[in-house]
């Protein structure tokens, strides 16, 4: 019984992670400019790979392996915003345009 419970939980984590990765890929293709594409890739993509790592830790059923999976999850969650922020700042400073749908550019007020 416990076996089936762990398997169902792991399967749910796997499918949720793969679904988040698919949503991120769809957003990467559908969104209009680089900043919104970055929003899709860095948030949904990170959660997708992080949930899959959690599924590995849960499936192993060992505390040390689960701790390593948690450490990897936190590592991804900590580094993805940093890299996305660096990329966005560099792109904005160099002069990449926002899409025509955007109404406000607050970073421009900050930089000037």
């Amino acid at each position: 019984m416990m076996d089936i419970l762990v398997a169902v939980l792991t399967a749910c984590l796997i499918l949720a992670g793969a679904g988040f990765a698919l949503v991120a890929a769809i957003g990467l293709n559908r969104l209009p400019d680089i900043y919104t594409r970055m929003h899709a890739a860095s948030k949904a993509g990170t959660v997708g790979s992080g949930l899959l790592l959690l599924a590995v830790g849960l499936h192993a059923g060992d505390l040390s392996i689960f701790a390593r999976a948690i450490a990897g999850f936190f590592f991804f969650v900590l580094t993805a915003p940093i890299s996305a922020h660096l990329l966005a700042m560099a792109a904005h400073k160099v002069g990449y345009r926002l899409s025509s749908h955007s109404t406000r550019d607050e970073l421009k007020d900050y930089e000037s």
Partner: protein, 135 residues
């Protein structure tokens, strides 16, 4: 094969298919992406999807050592993105210069050179010179 194994293996196969679709869509953004920064974002996303693949293989084979490989791949991807951000900052042009659209170049057949030359030929010895240069 118990019920738990059936549940797990079917979920893993479904996740492989979904991740494969996501991977192909992201590769399409790398090929298509009109600017350099779009391609960098898509490459960062590709790293995340490959980490997901590695996690799935870890569950399927039972080798939990793959977690360490996934963490180190995440570290490499993070450092690569930081380096690309510095590169955009130092060498980028804000996406103003016309970049070659690789997707369009791959998908459209090359125009027939003979017919175009015949249409363009007006007068003088210019076509002969061009044909010689082509050979």
């Amino acid at each position: 094969m118990t019920a738990a194994d059936v549940i797990l293996s079917s979920a893993i196969w479904l996740a492989f298919v979904i991740l494969g679709i996501a991977f192909l869509m992201t590769v399409w953004r790398v090929i298509k992406g009109p600017t350099l920064a779009d391609r960098v974002v898509a490459l960062d996303m590709l790293t995340g999807i490959v980490i997901g693949f590695i996690a799935l293989i870890a569950i399927r084979t039972g080798f939990t050592l793959y977690i360490d490989i996934a963490i180190s791949l995440g570290l490499v991807g993070f450092l690569a993105t930081v380096a690309f951000a510095r590169f955009i900052l130092s060498d980028g042009d804000g996406g103003k210069a016309p970049k070659p659209d690789i997707a369009r170049a791959l998908l459209t057949p090359p125009p027939g050179p003979r017919r175009k030359q015949a249409g363009r030929r007006s007068a003088g010895s210019r076509p002969a010179v061009r044909r010689k240069a082509g050979k």
